[in-house]
Symmetry: C2
Subunit: 339 residues, 2 copies
DNA sequence: TGTTTTTATGTAAACGTTTTCATTTATTTT
DNA sequence: AAAATAAATGAAAACGTTTACATAAAAACA
């Protein structure tokens, strides 16, 4: 109950009969403070449990040791892994991690950015929600001196560093694999093509066909929200409408799962009748029967790289912006092996 | 590049030829500010994009609109769901969410608490790491006026509100179910009994046996870290040592998965030869073959309740501490149905 | 009417740092 | 030894709020 607030730099100064300036300098490793005195200050601070006020320091410097992270949602394996990895790197480097979810809403994403700006974060890590097309707020953040870095779902403007997966390559490999397994008409489940990841995966799909000399049929492209339900429904519709297809490549594992469930329910055989491949390598894909082929994105590595690069840009005034592409790894599983 | 910092309360005051005090009052809905003037201030603020500095306000008030959340790790389905739900409630209520992972290390948990304290959070939500036994830091936080609330893995001291699952009930129901299915010797995989959740689940195990008039054999209790690997290894050891058992109830799904994998590898039948049940209802349990019986903990609800209660305690000076127990729901699946 | 109460505004200190500028002390140079 | 330079410290302003206290204006009361 008794709100005992800790000791401050002023208390130390008074006690040691020196000025607050020197005490401050001691903590900030300023060169001009006599070693003996510095030692004395640090010791005193330690025994009296001094903790600097990040608020005061943040207010004065106009910058805090806090980074904001904006993701669509934390209850997706991919994103929670990334957050986990980002947080680990950031705390090690002495930063706090503020998280915000956009829940795939552009308005929420905007208000998240505003919140972060006025919390004086020194950096923002962001993976955009679907359907985001304005980046006014991000530019505002950048203008205020906040370093921004994007990952996974990124824009080309405004110019920031970003870390993405090699979506095209992963998709291409999977589709190539499907074609080589003799599947001829591969349905493609994707989200909006204004989002880079879907656009790139579609390119992979197309390139694979080109490489195999097979003309892709765009009537097999189905845009949906990539949830389990929509995967199920889309598959049902395709089959009900008697559309000819013999495989599905879904840009998300949950919609692949929906497809898997409907196909089994319908009594069709995977991979014999229909092949299925997903994207993201969610844990469950390994344990379905048959297990589901998917594309692993190396979440942990992505989180690490994105956090490290952001810190670099914050701490080295002259660090340059970079774009990193992380290779994707196809996990070949039973759902696509019919030879 | 040009770091254009936003306008402040002082700018507004100057422009409108009034004092900063009134401007401040206008934003804080202080009763004593003339409606017309207030309207004018708010309008001016809006058109000029004024954003209050949470640092300045936090420094002055000794309190921020930030809540710290400490969990063992974010890349566990249970915790990432909870975080997701907590963050949703907190932002809606105007709070920021700072997350920290202890990675099951007591030292890291302690340093997380320290960090949060000196970030002037107004509340801490925590689920302890395994093997934590000191709560000195938590007490320190409480003494500084920070509201603390625990969930899932909790201590009884110091006194705080907490939200837990009905671990005993869930465990009891599962074990009862196993016994009724004719399993007689149920191996029990658990973590340290100093952690409430394992203690309670063990109680459930024992009560179920008592209720069925079966004497439990404590030589079937196996303490491990509940990872997939340890689940696999423990199961292997039990079988290799020829210990008689016909079912496994694991306090974690991943160790249940390890058991499942080894048993299948060994060519034994689930549920005929050996029954398996886990705890946490991880997504994959639904999709293994056979699917794995597990105990659902209603993560989303837990996150919501814990966040709401914390806010209540922060905002209502006279709110009382409470303990909430959320019912668990057993998901009966194929791995335990042998009748 | 004058007096009291209520409402509305202003003044200035405070929160705990960092940092510019000034000053003192120590060291080096001539 | 004096002069010039470097190292070490201090004084005080600044960051952007909130709030206790003082005061002014308006409303209510007598």
């Amino acid at each position: 109950m008794k709100k005992q607030s800790g000791i401050t730099i002023t208390d130390i100064a008074k006690e040691l009969k020196i000025s607050v300036a020197t005490v401050s300098r001691a903590f900030n490793n300023h060169p001009y403070v006599k070693p003996e005195l510095k030692k004395q200050i640090l010791e005193f601070a330690k025994t009296h449990g001094y903790q600097p006020s990040s608020l005061a320091s943040g207010l004065r410097k106009g910058k805090t040791k806090t980074i904001g992270v904006i993701i669509p949602r934390n209850n997706r394996n991919f994103f929670s892994n990334i957050i986990s990895s980002i947080e680990e790197v950031l705390t090690t480097a002495g930063y706090n991690t503020l998280i915000c979810q956009s829940f795939e809403s552009p308005e929420k994403e905007d208000s998240n950015i505003t919140t972060l700006i006025n919390s004086n974060v020194s950096g923002i890590i962001i993976s955009h929600c679907l359907g985001k097309n304005s980046h006014k707020n991000i530019e505002e953040a950048i203008n205020k001196g906040i370093k921004v870095i994007q990952f996974d779902r990124v824009f080309n403007a405004p110019q920031t560093s970003f870390v993405i997966n090699d979506n095209k390559q992963g998709a291409k490999e999977v589709v190539l694999h499907l074609l080589k397994q003799g599947y001829k008409r591969i349905a493609f489940f994707y989200g909006s093509l204004t989002t880079n990841i879907f656009k790139e995966r579609q390119l992979g799909y197309l390139e694979a066909h080109k490489e195999m000399g097979i003309k892709p049929d765009t009537s097999l492209f189905f845009k949906n929200t990539l949830t389990r339900e929509e995967g199920y429904n889309t598959t049902k519709q395709i089959i009900d409408k008697n559309i000819k297809f013999d495989a599905i490549f879904s840009c998300g594992d949950y919609s692949a799962l929906g497809a898997y469930l409907y196909i089994k329910e319908r009594g069709l055989k995977i991979p014999e009748d229909i092949g299925i491949a997903g994207f993201a390598d969610e844990p469950f894909t390994e344990f379905t029967t048959p297990s589901i082929t998917s594309v692993n994105q190396n979440d942990k590595e992505m989180g690490r790289l994105v956090a490290e690069q952001l810190i670099r840009e914050i701490e080295n005034e002259k660090s340059t912006q970079i774009q990193i592409t992380i290779p994707t790894i196809v996990k070949y599983r039973e759902s696509t092996q019919r030879l």
